[in-house]
């Protein structure tokens, strides 16, 4: 029961973190977007902006998987050493 509460709260924290990252990135982009004159520039600038956010989300995702794996292994080890 305690574990479930902890997991839920961590989940909520992670969700908030992702929201903050994305909203912050969106706001930042509004300030720093260069002047777009042609459709070609539109396509290339949209793709580069989305590329950075998608790449950083992907890296964060793999980091999360790593953290979950490490937590699980840590718990597994500590429960083994107790018995």
């Amino acid at each position: 029961m305690k574990d479930r509460l902890l997991a839920d709260s961590i989940n909520k924290l992670l969700l908030t973190g992702y929201y903050l990252l994305n909203l912050g990135y969106a706001t930042l982009m509004i300030y720093t977007w260069q002047h777009v004159d042609t459709i070609t520039e539109l396509v290339s600038s949209i793709s580069s902006r989305s590329a950075w956010i998608i790449l950083s989300l992907g890296l964060m995702h793999f980091f999360n998987i790593l953290v979950i794996y490490l937590l699980r292994r840590h718990r597994h080890n500590s429960s083994q050493s107790k018995t």
């Binding site: 396509v43 290339s44 580069s48 989305s50 998608i54 790449l55 890296l59 793999f62």
Partner: protein, 148 residues
Amino acid sequence: MQAQADVVNNIAQPIPNYLLTAYLIYLPIALLLTFYVAHTLFRNSEVFMLDIFHGKQEIALSTNKLFEVGFYLLNLGFALLILQIDVELRTYQVMVEALSYKVGGFAIYLGIMLFLNLYMFFRGRRISRQHQFPQADTDIPHFEAPIS
């Protein structure tokens, strides 16, 4: 006089550039290639995951899904990141050359990622089997005890 000025302006301005055409060809190719590779890889990796997690279906499938999302994010991000072409594409020949360079490079990158993933699946399977066997070894004396 006006027509002459227009001609001069046209010459002074950047002449037909096939950059947009190149982008519009590159984008669908890169995106479809990513979807195809990720779909194929992670439909077939379910078997590996089930083996790694000793047939625990829930955790195997959810891990598979997590890695699939990560794979999509990384590769789509990379595909969009290398979209920019700095050369001015005056003729179709230059455009095709630039396009094939981009698409070829991206395909090689995708292939490397695919084999990296395959290697990780095989490695995970080997490690999970190594963890399984010591337990089996400790069980053996237990079974042999009645015989001796």
